[in-house]
């Protein structure tokens, strides 16, 4: 199958594993909304509303990074329990098509939260003209998280470890980096570590797009984009080379 057909397959797999599921299982929505909206609520209440904007940015990034890193658990389930991966290995769908399909499923799962959070972001000050910048940075985080989630899943030998890895990755990519709080409060050395995670740059770029330009050492919108692009390229390259499609 050529690239267009692989993309079509990915959209169909994404639809199959998310929309058909969501239509008959609304509980999945509650699960996805729970953590980011809880954090948004806590941050808003504890800062008297002053960090509401940061909370919305953090929630957006957490939703997209969680559906990506959650692939560590989902794809392990598809491989070990349903054997869906085996089914698609022995088919014209290739590994990238399958990975993209599972990533689309995550994105479709996230879409109700995005429908709430993106208009909220515009309402609290994001100029509409900057919306593409936000969408692009969110896409970078989603693809990066999906690639590493999938990579981890292919090396996971049991389902419990799959879910646990997904949760751990979600904390490392979506909660600990400065997405819910200003990066400026981090000590210098820790800030440098945070620069290695693309969600940091996505948060800073969204803040920049909202007119709250961060004032940080070695950082500018250009370096932010560059580091997102580099980390995404590395994640995709490692995943396509190392992830196990056919078992060794």
């Amino acid at each position: 199958m050529n690239a267009t057909r692989q993309f079509r397959a990915a959209v169909i797999i994404g639809y199959m594993l998310s929309i058909t599921w969501l239509r008959r299982n609304l509980m999945s929505l509650v699960w996805l909304f729970a953590t980011p909206f809880s954090l948004l609520f806590i941050i808003t209440v504890t800062t008297g509303g002053r960090s509401f904007a940061l909370g919305v940015v953090g929630s957006l990034l957490l939703v997209l990074s969680t559906v990506g890193t959650g692939i560590a658990g989902d794809a392990t389930w598809y491989r070990l329990e349903t054997k869906l991966q085996d089914f698609f290995v022995a088919s014209p769908v290739n590994q990238i098509g399958y990975l993209l399909g599972i990533a689309f499923a995550g994105l479709f799962f996230a879409s109700p939260a995005l429908v709430v959070l993106l208009p909220l972001l515009v309402y609290i000050g994001l100029p509409l003209i900057s919306l593409p910048v936000v969408l692009l940075s969110l896409a970078g985080v989603w693809l990066f998280s999906s690639a590493i989630g999938y990579l981890v899943s292919t090396f996971t030998s049991n389902l419990r470890n799959g879910w646990q890895s997904g949760l751990l990755l979600s904390v490392l990519v979506g909660i600990i980096p400065p997405v819910f709080y200003p990066a400026e409060i981090l000590p210098h050395n820790i800030l440098l570590v945070a620069y290695a995670i693309p969600t940091t740059h996505a948060a800073l770029l969204i803040r920049d797009a909202m007119g709250a330009a961060p004032n940080l050492p070695y950082w500018s919108p250009l370096t932010g984009w560059l580091l997102i692009a580099v980390s995404l390229a590395i994640a995709l390259a490692v995943t396509s080379r190392v992830a196990r499609w056919r078992q060794p």
Partner: protein, 303 residues
């Protein structure tokens, strides 16, 4: 173009993590348009062979070509023409049988019209019409297994791999699946299946290979394989009043729970059956089957 759908030469597989030799020097040819069955006990290496041929697993040594392409180096060419029912998989929660079959056909690249037509036909063939719009998680285990089989047999693949396709199914469902597999064969397509149900191998297959501990023990058509059994008939006796010496004088005796099975020739079989009836025992007289051969081949060492 090769006449065989699968050619394996000295194929071996070692799982390094568990240091298990799963396949050892297997050489097999599977003809086009055939139903070929790998028969063996649990852990014999059947699934390993199937997964290597279906390009899901790398072999350690040896060569295997599938539909004329090297499975190690040309997996993409093979994957366009195959479909698989993996062993003991599951269905996906709230998706219906229709979703499972129709959407996977679309993902494989079929047009909407073709996918719809094939899904409709397969749902009917496997008697899933009544359940087609029910969430899979509300279906029985047997129905879910039929859905999984349907996902592969609905495709246009030239070669279909089925790993224990009737595991856990009732007798009626098994026969329904056998019927569908026969219809696929009539279309000129090939099937490789694994099973440890001996009747399934005997009824369904053109060729059978018996695998034990990673090695091919015997292969051929079910009729050819039966020529390897010396005896012609088996006499099952329940509530025997015979001594061991008496039974041994008729032929080879196998103890099966509360019954004795005597494997022997036609004449002595009839004599023993008559004598057992005179003595008031329950008796069954039948031709030897693949099961007798199988137990002979793979069970002897254990006894």
């Amino acid at each position: 173009m090769t006449l065989n759908s699968i050619e394996a030469v000295s194929l071996s597989k070692i799982y390094h993590r568990s240091r298990t030799q799963a396949l050892s020097d297997i050489t097999l040819s599977i003809g086009r348009g055939e139903i070929f069955t790998l028969l063996g006990r649990n852990g014999a290496g059947k699934t390993t062979f199937l997964r290597i041929a279906a390009t899901q697993l790398m072999p350690t040594k040896g060569k295997i070509s599938v539909l004329g392409h090297d499975a190690r180096d040309e997996p993409l060419e093979i994957r366009r023409k195959i479909a698989v029912v993996p062993q003991e998989g599951g269905t996906i929660g709230p998706l219906t049988p229709w979703d499972h079959i129709y959407l996977t056909l679309l993902a494989r690249g079929l047009s909407r019209g073709e996918a719809r037509g094939r899904a409709e036909k397969t749902i009917e063939q496997l008697e899933l019409t009544e359940y087609r719009n029910q969430p899979a998680d509300s279906l029985s285990g047997g129905l879910r297994q039929r859905v999984r089989v349907a996902m592969a047999v609905a495709t246009d693949a030239d070669l279909i791999f089925l790993d224990e396709p009737t595991l856990g199914l009732d007798a009626v469902s098994r026969r329904r699946i056998w019927g569908v597999l026969n219809e696929i064969q009539k279309e000129g397509r090939s099937l490789l299946l694994t099973t440890h149900y001996i009747d399934e191998a005997e009824i369904l297959s053109n060729e059978v290979a018996v695998i034990d501990r990673g090695r091919k023990v015997l292969s051929g058509s079910p009729t050819e394989l039966l020529r390897n059994v010396k005896e012609r008939v088996r006499v099952d006796i329940v509530g025997s009043t015979f001594s061991s010496e008496e039974l041994n004088s008729y032929g080879r005796v196998v103890k099966l729970a509360e019954r004795f099975r005597v494997l022997t020739d036609d004449q002595r079989g009839r004599e023993l059956a008559d004598e057992a009836m005179k003595r008031g025992s329950d008796v069954g007289l039948a031709r030897v089957s693949l099961e007798d051969l199988f137990v002979d081949l793979v069970g002897r060492e254990e006894e």
